[in-house]
Assembly symmetry: C2
Homo-oligomer: 415 residues x 2
């Protein structure tokens, strides 16, 4: 069994996390490293230099994804991939994405320092624009790579200043030569903070991620009639916000009926005209449900429009629901998941199986390559927030599990 006596350097990992967090650091202790900006370029350049310093070969594909390769002993083997993303939310934290990339770098550094070679080659990945904050499309780099999102469509996306993805890639010199398309690979591992409270609450160091949730998203619009708040009697009101409040309560109820695995959220809501003494004539809002089970999401996708219409019946309000997408559960590869489970057990780390609640590059990669993810806890479950925080020993534990899973996979006997 490989790797059990070899340890990554937790202090070196922490230093490299803090060094990366200095690039785009915000006054409140967070990070603003928006994709394909000069700040992102600085992060990418540092990452590339650190990879090259330990003999890795860095290639860049047409959407800016970076692959840092370490050759294996067996040239016929497919590479074992691992990584995450270096871009951040506008007011993001230090660890969302960066942990997976820099833990991957620490894996490479440990192999380099201990002069360990693996059977299969290894490739450490930095996916472009996981967050979607600048161009409005999350998981862009892995989505283009996986063929989920057409490259020309991605190139044409523009930020609020009118700069396109293609221009931004050229602007920082990261439109690479290599095609952004799935190439044969042995497996993919991604370490990420949970971005939720479950591991912390249960005192678990490691989340063995078995797959990603199913989900369904809508845009909703309720049309009533704006009218003077002081002069319009109850019988003449068609208050779109009163209708939206019923729908919000319904979303919450449908979530809670599904217990702790349920997720149901209205996160964005706009009132028109949004004036203190005018009855709202229109409300636009988002609705989403997520659940580990496809059957639950199918039931919600079919049932919610009917239940909403029933809730608004007789109100004189008009409802428009536009289903944006419905995604089935993405299960991860049982063999890869097992390697994570075994590594955590070997290391006596308290662990639990968990379904990824957030979207991750791994979810798209899993469509083409056997994939697993490793979660580590984050303080109060907070993420997408400058206060996002993890402990050095948590980062170290996650990185050690990544190291062992990757090594075991790269050295597995192939029959």
């Amino acid at each position: 069994m490989s790797g059990t006596n070899q340890r990554i350097d937790g202090r070196r990992l922490w230093t490299s996390l803090m060094d990366m967090a200095a690039i785009g650091a915000t006054p409140k202790g967070g990070v603003r490293r928006l994709t394909l900006t000069a700040v992102d370029k600085a992060g990418r350049d540092r990452f590339r230099a650190e990879c090259e310093a330990i003999g890795l070969t860095v290639r860049v594909d047409a959407i800016g994804n970076m692959f840092a390769r370490r050759e294996g002993r067996d040239p016929s083997r497919l590479p074992v991939l691992f990584g995450s993303h270096l871009d951040s939310q506008p007011s993001g934290g230090k660890f969302d994405g960066a942990l997976g990339v820099l833990a991957g770098l620490e894996v490479m550094r440990t192999l380099h320092a201990l002069d360990i070679s693996t059977e299969a080659p290894l490739e450490l990945v930095n996916w472009t624009d996981e967050e979607g904050s600048r161009f409005g499309h999350s998981l862009m780099g892995s989505g283009v790579w996986a063929g989920v999102f057409p490259q020309d469509k991605a190139y044409g996306l523009r930020d609020t200043e009118g700069v396109s993805v293609a221009e931004a890639l050229d602007g920082i010199g990261y439109r690479g030569e290599h095609p952004a398309a799935p190439f044969p690979a042995d497996s993919y591992f991604e370490l990420h903070i949970e971005q939720g409270p479950i591991l912390e609450r249960e005192g678990k160091a490691i989340g063995i991620v078995t797959g990603a949730q199913a989900m369904v998203w809508w845009d909703a619009r309720i049309l009533g009639q704006d009218a003077h708040a002081g002069t319009t009697p109850p019988s003449a009101r068609r208050d779109a916000l009163v209708g939206a409040a019923e729908v919000i309560a319904l979303v919450n109820r449908l979530m809670r009926e599904r217990g702790e695995d349920g997720r149901g959220t209205v996160g964005e809501l706009h009132v028109l005209p949004n004036s203190r003494n005018v009855i709202p004539g229109e409300v636009r809002f988002s609705v989403e449900f997520r659940h580990p089970e496809d059957a639950e999401i199918e039931a919600l996708a079919d049932g919610f429009p009917r239940l909403t219409a029933a809730a608004l019946e007789g109100s004189g309000l008009q409802l428009e629901l536009t289903e944006l997408f419905r995604i089935a559960r993405q299960p991860f590869d049982s063999g890869c998941v097992d390697l994570v489970r075994q590594a955590a057990a070997r290391l006596h780390l308290p662990a639990r199986e968990i379904t990824s609640g957030a979207g991750h590059d791994a979810v798209y990669v899993a469509r083409h390559v056997p994939t697993a993810m490793i979660f580590t806890p984050c303080k109060d479950g907070l993420s997408h927030n400058e206060a996002e925080s993890i402990e050095p020993n948590e980062a170290e534990a996650g990185c050690q599990v990544l190291f062992e899973a990757v090594l075991t996979r790269a050295n597995r006997p192939i029959g």
Copy 2:
């Protein structure tokens, strides 16, 4: 009995309404004549010229209120005032405010054309900034005049460009010499569109306004915790929007429990961070209740904070309620109201008593001067809207009632 055989000229009134609506006309048939702008100045200048053309003397006070005076036969009598406002909402209609001023002008023109003199002098008023859309404080001109709102505070208010009221007054040359303060006056009459659906629904031509509603306004803020919508299980959620939805439903229920006289509205609401996949951590919104009876508003003012706290109990959400103001019912003067009632009866116009649901300059003037208002219907109860619409015969009927009430009052025997 004076005035019964004398008729205002409905066609002239309509022409003057349409001419004024051309100043600041919007493509959708509405009006944008924001207070103290160049467009407002154009409206004021036209109004002044038309007043002076029929021999009225126009004076302007320190907050820009305009008074167009026609002398009476008895120099010892106090003036009978009437008017409204020429400023509009950003996307306002042609009649809100303008009807009262231009119907007043039509009263003056009729007296001039028929060479009628009155015992008491008459003063036609154009109040500054009734709408509050530019500087954020409605009823500004009448509020300063009535001493409800300190003049220096009004002068210091700034629009979104940073221009102060004082600068804007000077900029259009309407900071007058006369003090903005109540002067002895006999009475005040204001004709206005109802801005609600009641008269239209009941087929009434005239609303005999007996007073203005009591009301209570709050700023509300619910604090939860923003968190990832995909990763945060139901038990860990503190969703501020779910809490706000409960409060919106409560406001609606408390309104409906009070029948057709109840008014309860959440008109403005802001969600933070307002992102599709983030559970809302904070919601800020307005709450208001209005009712013709003081006792109902007192009960709501005391009960609502308690009921809201109870509704949110156990949710982990924090509620802040800031009461902005509580205004008792403002009854109008029974003598003046009677003159409106009698005029409508004499003219065989279907009429009903009504409480003003909206705020009006008349409500502040009533603190110092015996006051009454006359309402006319507006299409679908719509106001503060470019689609605001009334019929020429409705304007004519309201103006004729104003004419008769004003003349009867100005000629009443004083013992």
